[in-house]
Assembly symmetry: C2
Homo-oligomer: 143 residues x 2
């Protein structure tokens, strides 16, 4: 989560919503990390999780990340949650809960749908205070 | 939908699950079209919808597709449904319903969540029989 927080802080400095994501393998080796690139790429789907998942799979030349952990500073939205399922990620670890946009513990609750083919294990609230503080500071500064 | 069906057929010929997607603007001009590239890219997130949405936004140099229609041969999964919401697509038109993997009328029902910030209009079942027949033929041939 420390690396994900670094990527989130770097995202904030670029004017992006501060979210960072890291994909690690079973040995804890970092396969990919990314911060939000929505503004830089003018791409609303360029969430940190999507970028990190894609880069991790590409880097390995394998479609699935079944032994991997996706660590992200904010509860994934439904798009990113479903992507974690499609890449067959073993575990999703996230920091701040997101009642407004989250799709794991809130909203569409993607992994809880009976039709979800692969539901990763979920650990939420890791270093929650720091992750949430980054987001609060970012939005407070923009107001 | 004819163009989306063409892309779906082309996908099947490449050994991809036959799904095609087209993004059109308010005047009906095609901004982008794509077929599934999951196998070719070894990327489980390379669904036709994601590719077409990204290409449409990039081609215009604009983040949102608020005047646009996403037409796709199969009910979008939760990832693609949320992406359509994030790109603020005006309308989603799809062909075959997908009780097993869909995230619009089935499963996570992404647009129905109270926290969904932008729910496109939805028209399902357009040329459903043709869209579904393509998928059935593809999977029957693989068994």
């Amino acid at each position: 989560m420390e690396l994900a927080l670094e990527d989130a802080r770097a995202a904030a400095e670029r004017g992006e919503v501060p979210v960072g994501a890291v994909v690690t393998d079973a040995a804890g080796v970092v396969l990919a990390r990314a911060g939000n690139l929505v503004e830089a790429g003018q791409d609303p789907a360029a969430h940190a999780e999507m970028l990190a998942l894609r880069a991790a799979a590409r880097g390995r030349g394998r479609k699935y990340l079944a032994d991997c952990v996706l660590t992200v500073t904010l509860e994934p939205c439904p798009m990113c949650a479903q992507a974690a399922s499609l890449y067959r990620v073993k575990r999703v670890v996230f920091g701040a809960y997101d009642p407004k946009g989250g799709g794991v513990e809130h909203g569409a609750r993607v992994f809880a749908a009976a039709s979800c083919h692969h539901a990763p294990e979920v650990v939420g609230g890791v270093r929650e205070a720091e992750c949430a503080a980054l987001l609060r500071a970012f939005f407070a500064a923009r107001r």
